[in-house]
Amino acid sequence: MAGILDVPKPRINYSMLSQHINRAVCFVGRVGKVHPTGKTFTVTDGEGKTVTIELNDPLEEELSGIVEVIGMVSSRGEIMATTYNILREDKGISFDLELYNEALKVIHDFPQHYPFVVAASG
């Protein structure tokens, strides 16, 4: 887990998965189906495309709504999650997934303005 925290984790959606194979990413989407074992679930991005998330340890809680997953993209296009974050719907403003997707596109269309680098400390 420590390793992934030090690395830049670009925010992506389904269409960008293929360019990030074996890299750490951050995927935000709406929870779809949770496998009965609790070790895998699906997430749908702002364009309606679905990705499968795999966990090392089974889920210990109910998953629903929008979730932010950090993990590695496998060669099969799935995300091996190291950690996830539930964006609570009952607090604050509701998350606009379509708008988020628009922002994602901008970030990736203009990498010169949105560089994914870890700032050097000191």
Partner: protein
Amino acid sequence: MRKAKVHNLKEQLCEAGMGVTLTQGAVEALLKGSEVNNPVLQLLNIRQISSASGPSRFRLMMSDGRHSLSSFLLATQLNNLPEENLLVQHCVCMLKKTTTNTLSDGRQVVVVVDMEILQSAEQTGGKIGNPIPYNSDGKLSSPQKVSSSTSEQTSSSSAALPGPSHRNNTSFSASRGAGRNLTATALMKTSPMKTSPMKTSPMKTSPMKASPMKTSPMKTSPMKASPMKASPMKAAGSSLVSSAKVIPIASLNPYQSKWTIRARVTNKSNVRNWSNSRGEGKLFSFEIVDESGEIKITAFNNEVDKFFSLVEQGKVYYISKATLKVANKQYTTLKNDYEMTLNAHSSIVPCDDCQGIPTVHCDFVPIGELENWDKDAIIDVIGVCKSAEDVSRITTKSSREVSKRALNLIDTTGKEVTITLWGEEAEKFDGSGQPVVAIKGARLSDFGGRSLSALFSSTIMVNPDIPEAFRLRAWYDKEGHAVDSQSLTETRSTSSGSKMNWKTLSDIKDENMGHGEKAEYFSCVATVVFTRKENSLYQACPSADCNKKVIDQQNGLYRCEKCNREYPNFKYRLLLSANLADFGDNQWVTCFQETAEVLLGHSAKTLGQLREMDEAAFDKVFQKANFTTHVFKNRVKLETYNDESRVKVTVLEVLPVDHREYSRRLLRNIHKLAS
């Protein structure tokens, strides 16, 4: 023997001699509504039906040699024929123009609009042939009904033609022998006019009221008040109403009293009570539409009781005998020079045959064009309800509490407008699923630029069954939902007009804002980085309209120079100096009372108390404001003070950041820059 003779006579007449040939099969054809060209028929019987008001009607029994039928009605314009004894029993005529109407119970009536007498009764010399009554449903020839009780007389089984005769004749029956029992059988049996059974008929006892009106619902409706009322038009709801001509609403005028219209109720108001110096009463009104146009109808007092529950929005009715008058445009926005008032004689009958009646008559104005319309215009609008606020309750000037609800509508012009619903409409509106909402008769206002308000007389339709609604739904689902619409209704008032002037803090210097003669206005998203707590509060004149700083006289009194008075007290007011920052620059700004209170989250009064009593808490308030981000609406002007010129920025309004709106704006700007 006799029969043979008759038969011969018929043949003579039909084939050779007299030159007239009855058009056999014409009766059947006419009844079925088929085209028959100038059929030649013989009049077997004619009966006059009188009414209390208006001209008499004549009911005819015609024969085509094969069949006879008494369901013929003479149009009033031909009344002179029988009255001048031209149209007499056994004469032969050619029907040049007829109309066949179907009653609501399925029976047919043939109205003779134009006819020519080909051969007089004398010349013809009697009934031609041996026609049998045309029997389409077997009911026609039930003889027993002739002298039966009144109620039965009114039943369909006993008469080819129901209605008019019945209703009209409570007082006339005895003398005329006309009226209800115009049964084929009665006619057949008795030599024409005698109908003695009629004379003793209990018709007089206005049985109509109670009769189990098989035929027409109308009979049990308002009509019951006066049996005399039955002028053919109105009388038996279905029968006569349809046999009378239905005229278009557009041709209604106060100079023509014999009319029937068939229209759909588009809008029905609630009952309204009034009480003034001249008395009190109640009314309700409704609007109707047919293919030709629309008109408003009002009912007062008694008519309210009579008709309120009968009239339902969306249903079609035959209406006749109401008072036409010039429309009071103050109370209606319909396109008709006239409006109608129901009276004691009016009749409203539900109609089952609604084809051709439009469901609703709307002239929708595209939202993008609303700016071209003047305020207070009454218009129709349709759009997709993108969002709806919750119902809120407000108190009006007359201290009444009323519910209100604002909806945002968008249409294919990509423009949005806010419409406000009131009262019950506001409460029962369901905005889920972004429905298509159509409003007929809403008032356009210039509040917030352009906005709409529903009136008492407006009709609000959610997901209406009209083509425009389907078009909007399809457009919205496909692309409309993603459109960055511009709302014509600015929910926040802007001094710069309808569009916010978004700037960044560096723009102020870069663009030399405020250097011109007039002050400039702009909005920005910025973060508070410093608030000056010293000298943020001052003691102000306690009088309501004066905010001038008072001088502490040190004797418990405070002097206001502006009011030229001394007061034993003062009120605290805020004058806050703050520094705002964004990615590009900082800017010192001044916040007066209202904006300072929003920024600090406390009233001046509270802060005044806090400063006196708990300085630490006072400090904390100012700390908390730091690093909060807001939308600021500002005024900027270059000011000169003692030879020094400085650009001064005053905050006019502090608003929370609408992140969605902000994001969309940024995305828009990025796309613009990128293209």
